[in-house]
């Protein structure tokens, strides 16, 4: 599996920007704090996944790079979730 192919740049931008605005709006009080924070962290992870895949153009066939980036993203997401939920 080599991952997805190129999407148009501005489609990617719209998804990334939309996710950013959504995370912000939820955190501003349109969702309960735990939901807003958790969604914001997960949205950040999805955005970064999209950046790896589409903007950096690193596909799963690029070993060991893509797995390393994947581990980094998973670890960073878990760290933030623990930082939130264990507090």
């Amino acid at each position: 599996m080599t991952g997805s192919r190129e999407w148009p740049v501005w489609v990617i931008w719209a998804v990334l920007a939309g996710a950013s605005v959504l995370g912000f709006v939820l955190a501003e009080g349109y969702a309960s704090p735990p939901v807003a924070a958790t969604v914001a962290i997960i949205l950040a992870a999805l955005k970064i996944h999209l950046v790896f895949d589409q903007y950096m153009e690193v596909h799963w066939g690029h070993r060991p790079l893509r797995p390393i980036l994947g581990i980094w993203l998973a670890a960073s997401t878990v760290i933030l979730l623990i930082g939130y939920w264990a507090a």
């Binding site: 080599t2 192919r5 190129e6 740049v9 501005w10 990617i12 931008w13 990334l16 920007a17 950013s20 605005v21 995370g23 912000f24 955190a27 501003e28 309960s32 704090p33 735990p34 807003a36 924070a37 914001a40 962290i41 949205l43 950040a44 955005k47 970064i48 950046v51 790896f52 589409q54 903007y55 950096m56 153009e57 690193v58 596909h59 066939g61 690029h62 070993r63 790079l65 893509r66 390393i68 980036l69 980094w72 670890a75 960073s76 760290i79 933030l80 623990i82 930082g83 939130y84 264990a86 507090a87």
Partner: protein
Amino acid sequence: MREAVQADLASANSQSATDDTIPPGDSGVWVFIIADMCAFALFFVLFAAGRIAQPEVYEASRQQLDGAIGLANTLILLTSGAFMAQAVRAARKGNRAATLSGLGLALGVGLLFGITKAFEWSAKLNQGIGLTTNEFFTYYFVFTGIHFLHFVVGIGVLFALIARVRKFDLDTTQQRWIESGGAYWHMVDLLWIVLFAMLYLMRAA
């Protein structure tokens, strides 16, 4: 039909983007990027540990940040990143004019990040909030400060890429340079995505 599209892309992209084993850019640059991202992962651990130890301090401090500026910074970097991605794609197609305009716009939009950041920091300092106010603000200033240094280097890289594209032909070496610079610029972008969520959006119950 899908195959036809892929074949089209394959012929349009001269080098690495369609190569399933070699990532775009210089492999050494990726060492730099991974090492750097690992350093930031350590920052996230520090922040999470600090937040677990003092949740009230972190939440009270977080409320003093201006989330709208954080969002503006995110959108600025995402937009600049989109222009960068366009420049990389144009370079691979050998389109020099589009490459130059992509790089120029990535640079122009990117510079706005410096302005909003200066504005945000000075507002904090004017409120009497500084590096040693509390642990949250230590991390806030240090992490966004180190991120800002990366941003400054990225701006330098964009200037250098523009100069190179003006001077030399868009050959494969040149494409590699642009891909490498692009990967770095996107790293600056994605690190900010985490910082934005971590510093601004983790609202405590």
